[in-house]
């Protein structure tokens, strides 16, 4: 789960990570008030959207004084900000963060995330701060220093010291780096993060170390034990159907095609999207209805699929392991009746209780196109979607 910069900074500051003073604003008047309260000669007005690349897209603007802060906020709030990471439509700016300025002596990079190769959280540090770290990794990998954190000890002070010296920090700055880095790593663990990134980590002219930007991604699997973090979710940053799916604890990703899929199991769901593509069609979504879905959950999933206006055909592909085919069938029938099924529905069932499931569908008097295997199901779905498109044209 992603959170905003202002939320990330608030969380990090609780762990003793140095951040600049700032206040959130949702109107230009609030932004102006924030600037007055902060009383800094220069303030940054920063669009609060989840996507990165805000700076280059005009989403971060410097202002001298409250009046300029007001004007920048007015220019940003309510507009669509398009960055390299938002996609062409951009993201609506609903909030801005007004932050005191600072005088930058140098910019570093400090981040941590899981390294799947080692199964350890790894700290990455670089003198190349304020730029896209993926670019640095591609062009100058030797400029990224790494430390794999041993879960037994957490990030050790000596490891942080080694990084500080390798980054070219000396004296006070090097000493400050150690508690900064270890506080960041404590935050990572305590929050159950999957990414904590400070880019840039700024050394100010006054010799302080401060997080000029902060990005945190949280482990979705751990949110159940962090209800206060789960509450930081911003539905405005989510695609509407994906948001709805989350409410029902469904795994759903919106795509751009016209064949909706409901599948049990992520691998098979991806495989189903793949085979639709191979058959010349375009999947409208990824949906894993899961291993123990109740009839209600299946019905909810079905309704979400059908709420996508671009969908012309639906493919249900269920191979029952934990998922029982009769439960799926009852869910489909219930949902179809509730929503009023008007689209071609191809259903392929296999596995636990398959005959029960097929019987339920057959007796339901719904207009279902049965398929015996995966290839057959894909062909029928693609064909149905094409016919529907042709009729609409």
């Amino acid at each position: 789960m992603r959170i905003h910069e202002y939320q990330a900074k608030e969380l990090l500051s609780r762990f003793g990570v140095a951040v600049l003073r700032g206040r959130l604003a949702v109107t230009p008047a609030e932004a102006e008030d924030a600037a007055i309260v902060l009383g800094a000669p220069i303030c940054a007005v920063k669009a609060q959207i989840h996507a990165g690349g805000r700076g280059k897209a005009g989403g971060v603007r410097l202002a001298r004084g409250p009046a300029e802060v007001h004007d920048h906020a007015q220019a940003m709030l309510g507009t669509m900000l398009r960055t390299a990471q938002t996609g062409p439509e951009g993201q609506r700016v609903g909030k801005v963060y007004v932050e005191e300025g600072c005088r930058i002596e140098r910019e570093l990079y400090l981040g941590m995330t899981l390294d799947r190769e080692t199964g350890r959280v790894t700290v990455m540090a670089s003198t190349e701060g304020g730029v896209d770290i993926e670019e640095v990794a591609a062009r100058h990998p030797e400029r990224i220093l790494r430390v794999a954190i041993d879960p037994l000890t957490g990030l050790q002070a000596n490891e942080a010291r080694r990084l500080a010296f390798a980054l070219g920090l000396r004296g006070e700055l090097a000493s400050r780096f150690v508690p900064f880095a270890t506080a960041l790593s404590h935050a990572y663990s305590a929050l159950d993060a999957t990414l904590v990134e400070v880019n840039p980590l700024v050394a100010t002219l006054e010799g302080a170390l401060v997080a000029l930007d902060a990005k945190i991604e949280l482990d979705d699997n751990a949110l159940a034990r962090h209800p206060e973090l789960a509450a930081l979710r911003d539905p405005d940053e989510e695609q509407a159907r994906e948001s709805e799916a989350k409410e029902h604890d469904l795994s759903y990703v919106a795509l751009s095609g016209d064949i909706a899929c409901m599948v049990n199991g992520a691998g098979l769901a991806m495989g189903t999207m793949d085979i639709i593509q191979l058959a010349g069609g375009a999947p409208a979504n990824f949906l894993d209805v899961g291993g123990g879905a109740s009839e209600a959950k299946v019905a909810a999933a079905f309704k979400i699929l059908l709420s996508d206006p671009g969908v012309r055909a639906v493919l249900v592909n269920i191979f029952g392991g934990i998922m029982k085919c009769d439960v799926i069938a009852n869910g489909i029938v219930a949902a179809a009746r509730q929503v009023g099924l008007a689209l071609p529905l191809v259903v392929r069932l296999e596995g636990t209780n398959v005959e029960l499931g097929k019987g339920i569908l057959a007796r339901s008097e719904l207009d279902i196109i049965p398929a015996d295997d995966l290839a057959d199901a894909a062909r029928k779905a693609v064909s149905a979607a094409r016919e529907a498109a042709a009729r609409a044209a």
């Binding site: 699997n221 999207m273 291993g291 596995g351 636990t352």
Partner: protein, 332 residues
């Protein structure tokens, strides 16, 4: 034996009284798996179906029944602890079915297990492991499996059943089907399974099912190139997946430019794996591959042919990788 489990494996089920645990323990017993105990803290002293005793702790269960494998159906926030409990009790194979375990819990589990080499963890977020006709530990539908010569290793659950169904329909049974699971930090990887399949006399060919995210398939490809002579068919799910999105499995994310399906497919093909375009083509691909191989004698796997293979391998290694790729018709 096939790999990991056989008719002698004695299984305990952690979380046996929960809804998933009880359903699947019943299914395992019905399949013929030797489910010798269940564990639910607080329900020790009671019994499950067919008289299976339930214990408060894994240690009690192991001491009283000699269980040597565990199947874990414990909810996500307590599952890591369940794995640790089984490891502490000396269980040699821990099959963690649970999906949704926090990543940092698994980072700690992995660290813990580093010091316990006698314990193998499979999963988490996996369907389990089955040696058809002998032992089923997990949630896979037993009835689609048949004993036979094809070993399967997969990150997916239901996509594996799809492959098994296709193979069984063509009379190609399975030696063992292993689900390594969809999480980014897990206990057993592709290479662990490939090495065992290669050494297993009952396995003649291997199916590898991967997906986007991580580099497990790339490591598998490297291993196959130098260490696996048996024919391998592969499928990688997620060619149609967009980058940067988690596609269900916590481990199924294309991160920047790494973890793409294309890169995995290329690496596996370079290693001589026959990679199917379509998930519907796995059975057929294996059928063709096995049909094209030189006929094996009934003594397939007998010591003399293994020694011959070792000599050939040594010669190949000496002549370099290029020679190794050119030889071996099963790699075309």
């Amino acid at each position: 034996m096939s790999i990991f489990v056989d008719g002698n494996t004695r299984v305990l089920v952690q979380g046996i009284t929960g809804s998933a645990g009880s359903f699947h323990a019943q299914q395992m017993l019905a399949y013929g798996t030797r489910v010798v105990a269940g564990v639910t803290p607080g329900r020790g002293g009671t019994r499950f179906e067919r008289g299976t005793p339930i214990f408060d702790t894994v240690a009690d269960a192991v001491r009283e029944t000699g269980a040597n494998a565990s199947c874990i159906f414990v909810p996500p926030l307590h599952a890591a602890d369940a794995i640790l409990e089984a490891a502490n009790a000396g269980v040699s194979l821990i099959v963690a079915i649970t999906e949704g375990i926090p990543v940092l819990d698994m980072v700690k589990v992995k660290r813990f297990l580093q010091d316990r080499p006698g314990v193998r963890l499979l999963g988490p977020n996996c369907p389990g492991v089955i040696t058809p006709g002998q032992c089923k530990i997990g949630i896979m539908p037993g009835h689609i499996h048949r004993p036979g010569p094809v070993g399967i290793v997969s990150r997916s659950g239901t996509l594996t059943y799809e492959a098994v169904n296709q193979l069984s329909a063509r009379g190609l049974g399975q030696s063992t089907a292993v689900g390594i699971g969809g999480d980014p930090v897990n206990g057993t990887d592709f290479v662990d399974c490939l090495s065992r399949f290669e050494a297993d006399p009952e396995t003649e060919a291997i199916v590898l099912i991967g997906e986007i995210g991580g580099s497990g398939e790339e490591w598998a490809a490297r291993y196959i190139r130098t260490n696996v002579k048996k024919p391998v068919v592969g499928f990688i799910a997620g060619r149609s997946a967009p980058p940067g999105r988690r596609m269900g499995h916590a481990g199924a994310v294309i991160s920047g430019s790494s973890g793409t399906a294309e890169a995995k497919i290329a690496a596996l093909r370079e290693a001589g794996v026959v990679v199917c375009q379509s998930p519907a083509g796995i059975g057929e691909a294996m059928q063709h591959l096995l049909a094209r191989r030189p006929a094996r004698t009934a003594l397939s796997g007998a010591p003399s042919s293994r020694a011959e293979r070792r000599t050939r391998t040594a010669v190949r290694a000496a002549s370099g990788r290029r020679a190794a790729r050119a030889e071996g018709p099963s790699k075309l």
